[in-house]
């Protein structure tokens, strides 16, 4: 019977090693789900749905089309967070809706919106900057806003 007791610590050790106490990490495209739609021929509305337990950094979100450079996206205020290296930073949790004005109205065209974002999980890991692309169809002049399209999973964070 003494042999039985030998298994008990083994059980405890195996329990600690075999059963992760932490939830499994989501891939970034699921942790920070991105979608977008056209509001009118010169405005895109982008939306991140940040999963529970994850957050995005406001100042690391950038949008561009073609060679436009960073578009003047209207990023809403985030939750303030003090960072010892970067100072005060703002973060987003849950859904966040961002208006992205285009350099010019291009009615009826479909364009590729490039989005960059970076976030972390509360369990204590961060994801590398995540570039994503979305094909957004712009309405004709005076047309209705288009449907939301989801970003495709990115293959690599390196450009």
């Amino acid at each position: 019977m003494a042999a039985v007791s030998l298994f008990l610590p083994a059980f405890a050790a195996a329990f600690a090693a075999g059963l992760p106490a932490q939830p499994k990490l989501l891939p970034p495209e699921q942790a920070f789900r991105l979608s977008a739609r056209a509001l009118d021929p010169s405005t895109i509305e982008a939306r991140f749905d940040v999963a529970d337990g994850y957050y995005l950094y406001r100042d690391r979100i950038h949008f561009s089309v073609g060679s436009s450079g960073d578009l003047p996206a209207e990023l809403p205020k985030g939750q303030r967070k003090h960072d010892e290296f970067f100072g005060d930073v703002e973060t987003y949790r849950g859904p966040v809706v961002i208006r992205v004005p285009l350099p010019a109205a291009i009615p009826g065209r479909t364009l590729t919106l490039h989005a960059d974002s970076q976030g972390c999980a509360d369990v204590g890991v961060c994801y590398p900057p995540n570039p994503q692309k979305l094909e957004v169809a712009l309405p004709a002049s005076g047309g209705k806003p288009g449907p939301y399209v989801e970003a495709a999973a990115s293959k690599s964070w390196l450009k």
């Binding site: 039985v4 083994a10 059980f11 050790a13 195996a14 075999g18 992760p20 990490l25 690391r60 960072d83």
Partner: protein, 197 residues
């Protein structure tokens, strides 16, 4: 953090197992013990299966890697073969990474004489890295990682390329531990003690 690969030693039974007197075990106790044996066998097998991947891995991929240091000089990781080598993938944009590094600095100065060598691989821009390295008075080498570093981290099981990610190699160049998320002080000490023995 979600599923750090545990060192092999954790999956093995402790040798100083307390003994239970035969008379003390009732029939009910026997049933519980039996269940425990079954569960231990199941989970033990599971845990060993999980760690086999770590055990089988040698550090060839690590020692084949060359990356530029902060001065742009190409630096081969193979120069640290024979050390107890801790390769820490990190970035300034990763707060949990920055949080654990002062402890690495302390351990590096405490255990350098015992053959312990930390090497940081920053998945980041050199200027940011320089600034932070100066701030915490980093006392071990930092290399600037690009695609090669990401691929290395992925090859070692970090599929999401999330940070911090640390791998520990023994003196023979075997990967004995991989850690996604912070390496806690106590866990690090236990690991180093087992490798220095």
């Amino acid at each position: 953090m979600s599923e750090p690969l545990r060192p092999v030693m954790e999956a093995q039974p402790a040798s100083d197992a307390p003994t239970v007197e035969r008379r003390a075990i009732s029939r009910r106790g026997f049933v519980i013990a039996s269940v425990c044996i079954g569960a231990a066998a199941l989970f033990g097998g599971f845990a060993l299966f999980r760690s086999r991947g770590t055990r089988a891995r040698d550090g060839a991929a690590v020692f084949a890697t060359t990356l530029p240091d902060l001065d742009g000089k190409e630096t081969a990781l193979s120069q640290w073969r024979g050390k107890i080598l801790l390769v820490n993938f990190w970035a300034t944009w990763c707060a949990p990474c920055r949080e654990e590094m002062p402890h690495f600095v302390a351990v590096q100065s405490r255990d350098a004489g015992k053959g312990v060598q930390f090497v940081g691989i920053a998945v980041d821009q050199a200027d940011k890295v320089r600034e932070f390295v100066k701030e915490i008075k980093l006392n071990y080498p930092v290399l600037i990682g690009g695609l090669g570093a990401i691929e290395l981290s992925k090859a070692l099981g970090n599929e999401l390329s999330a940070l911090p990610f640390t791998i520990v190699l023994d003196r023979s160049g075997n990967v004995v531990h991989t850690q996604l998320g912070q390496l806690k002080a106590r866990e690090l000490d236990t690991l180093l003690e087992s490798l220095q023995a």
